[in-house]
């Protein structure tokens, strides 16, 4: 294909891909009545911010945002710490039962959470966690995938470095802290981004476990609004827009890390 043709094709493809987002933005600023009467349109005859003001006046939007932040931040912190430690141990330490542990952790990679969501729910309920953020945070804190990301990275760290630290009299913890972690910054960045994004966007599990509108994270709040608004797409799109803008901004700003993280993993 010649360059101009390729450029044109890219233009068309981008237009198609941007259309849903464009529609979301336009309808978020379209007066409700217009949508009700004439249907949603990409070129409405007037614009308004009332969908947003209604939203903030009627619903605990800030609260949902802070819930999402709390849940995603805590999950991320916990999961990065836990998975880093495990990944390092599996990559660099000799210990009894290592292969066995590896196989166990491995096999959990193949268990889709949805397949066991019912007993998982009952477990969390019986632990008394239902109605608390911990019901969402703890089950998603350890991902086999995170362990593998970490292990893969550490496998590529030369042993000589660790040995040198060891000869200098560092224990495992000290080695980890002063030698390994400083090197693992790109890995940690990728893990943080992936964990945060996964949790920020997760829907099914929070839907099952967060039983109170006051505790909803953004996706569950959106589902809740769908029930409240019915066919009021203006209000719905206003909230949808608000809920994905932070992540989109971060995504565009840190695209390099995301691309790196995604191409190395299969998380969404």
């Amino acid at each position: 294909m010649s360059r101009p043709v390729r450029f044109l094709v890219c233009l068309v493809v981008s237009a198609v891909f941007v259309l849903p987002l464009f529609a979301m933005v336009v309808v978020a600023f379209t007066p409700r009545e217009l949508v009700f009467d004439g249907g949603a349109s990409l070129w409405p005859s007037s614009f308004t911010t009332s969908n947003f003001t209604n939203l903030f006046a009627s619903f605990p939007v800030w609260r949902w945002f802070s819930n999402a932040m709390i849940v995603a931040t805590l999950t991320t912190a916990l999961s990065v710490a836990v998975n880093l430690a495990a990944g390092f141990a599996l990559a660099k330490l000799q210990f009894a039962g290592r292969t066995f542990v590896l196989v166990v952790v491995l096999s959990t990679l193949m268990v889709p959470a949805q397949a066991v969501m019912i007993p998982q729910f009952e477990l969390v309920a019986r632990m008394g966690l239902i109605g608390l953020f911990w019901a969402v945070i703890l089950p998603s804190a350890s991902t086999a995938l995170g362990v593998f990301l970490a292990r893969q990275f550490f496998v590529s760290v030369p042993d000589e470095l660790l040995d040198a630290a060891r000869l200098d009299g560092c224990g495992t913890v000290a080695t980890l802290r002063y030698v390994v972690l400083p090197m693992a910054k790109p890995l940690i960045a990728v893990m943080v981004l992936l964990a945060f994004m996964t949790q920020w966007n997760d829907f099914l599990w929070p839907l099952i476990t967060l039983r109170d509108p006051d505790l909803y994270t953004l996706p569950v709040a959106l589902r809740f609004l769908q029930g409240q608004f019915d066919a009021d797409y203006g209000g719905l799109m206003a909230m949808a827009l608000l809920s994905c803008v932070p992540l989109l901004v971060v995504f565009v700003a840190l695209q390099r890390f995301f691309v790196d993280g995604f191409s190395r993993s299969g998380i969404r």
């Binding site: 493809v13 330490l93 007993p119 350890s142």
Partner: protein, 315 residues
């Protein structure tokens, strides 16, 4: 390139044994044991508690008549025999297969096409790429709600556009096949970007001369892509096919929000059916867990195939 590979070759230990002097070996081994397990403990505890325990539990639940509250009682093969004669379950399985067949080749194929298109220098390439990536960062709930906005039969964007073109309202929500199509389209919107991203990363490793030769303008370009580049990308393609299959079998959010499994059972999938049975009005945990196990078995089957192919490739 992928975790999967590492994941599936547990035999590949980290190269190089620890170079400790023989005299200190036992002590450091001991210390390693202790520190290794203390590093592993939190992770193993979480995995064990929140994944392995439920796994065993769902095997037990499948043989119980059990509601969400109250204790279950053993019911032998009741759930299983109901499953086998349950038209809705078979329908859900079929729908899931249809959804998979519709989404996987397109996600991967379009991803490859776009990657090849945007791999070479082009004005505004970065912007184009970003636009195609963007949906990856959009939560599935937003994707689903936007899907509703586009496909709403009475006041949706698409039917509005079609109306202006003089085409009558298309039954996106009340016609089963069209409802399935709408779910597939919204799924592709998020997955094509992912496929393209992974392919672009893989194309970095492809010999640039090979690419140069292959994407040369004029006749034979496409042929070379087919005979040179595509084989080169085989491992990547394989990874994408597997991961997309697993995602497709687990589809929930988009269907739950956009169609609620309807019209009728036209878009009922395995996970939505398990959810409806377990957390819907019937509160039938035993049966819901049984449906969940089917998903588990299918996922394991896909992984097993993956293992075998990987072994053969490495052999």
């Amino acid at each position: 390139m992928t975790i999967e590979k590492t994941a599936l070759a547990p035999g590949q230990e980290a190269p190089g044994e620890q170079a400790t002097t023989p005299g200190t070996a036992p002590r450091s081994r001991l210390r390693d044991n202790r520190s290794a397990y203390s590093l592993l403990a939190p992770n193993l505890l979480l995995i064990g508690l929140f994944l392995l325990v439920p796994l065993v539990w769902s095997l037990l639940m499948a043989f119980q008549a059990k509601r969400s509250f109250g204790l279950g009682e053993w019911s032998g093969l009741t759930n299983l025999s109901r499953l086998l004669s349950d038209d809705v379950f078979w329908r859900a399985l079929l729908n899931t297969a249809i959804f998979t067949v519709a989404t996987v080749p397109l996600s991967v194929g379009l991803g490859l096409a776009l990657a090849l298109l945007m791999d070479k220098a082009l004005p505004g390439r970065g912007v184009f790429r970003t636009i195609v990536y963007l949906p990856i960062a959009v939560s599935s709930l937003v994707v689903s709600l936007v899907g509703l906005l586009l496909f709403d039969e009475s006041i949706g964007i698409l039917n509005g556009v079609l109306r202006d073109l003089g085409v009558g309202p298309v039954a996106w929500q009340s016609n089963g096949a069209l409802a399935m199509l709408s779910v597939v389209v919204m799924t592709l919107w998020t997955r094509v970007g992912f496929g393209m991203l992974v392919y672009l990363a893989a194309l970095q490793d492809v010999d640039s001369e090979v690419l140069e030769a292959a994407t040369m303008d004029g006749a034979g370009g496409l042929d070379r892509i087919r005979h040179v580049v595509v084989p080169w990308l085989r491992p990547t393609t394989f990874f994408l096919v597997v991961i997309n299959m697993i995602w497709s079998f687990q589809v929930f959010d988009v269907v739950y929000v956009m169609t609620n499994g309807g019209p009728g059972y036209s878009t009922t999938m395995l996970v939505t059916y398990a959810y409806d049975e377990g957390f819907g009005p019937s509160r039938n945990f035993g049966y819901g867990a049984t449906v969940g196990l089917v998903l588990l078995v299918i996922t394991l089957a896909i992984t097993a195939v993956q293992l075998r192919v990987n072994r053969r490739q490495e052999a």
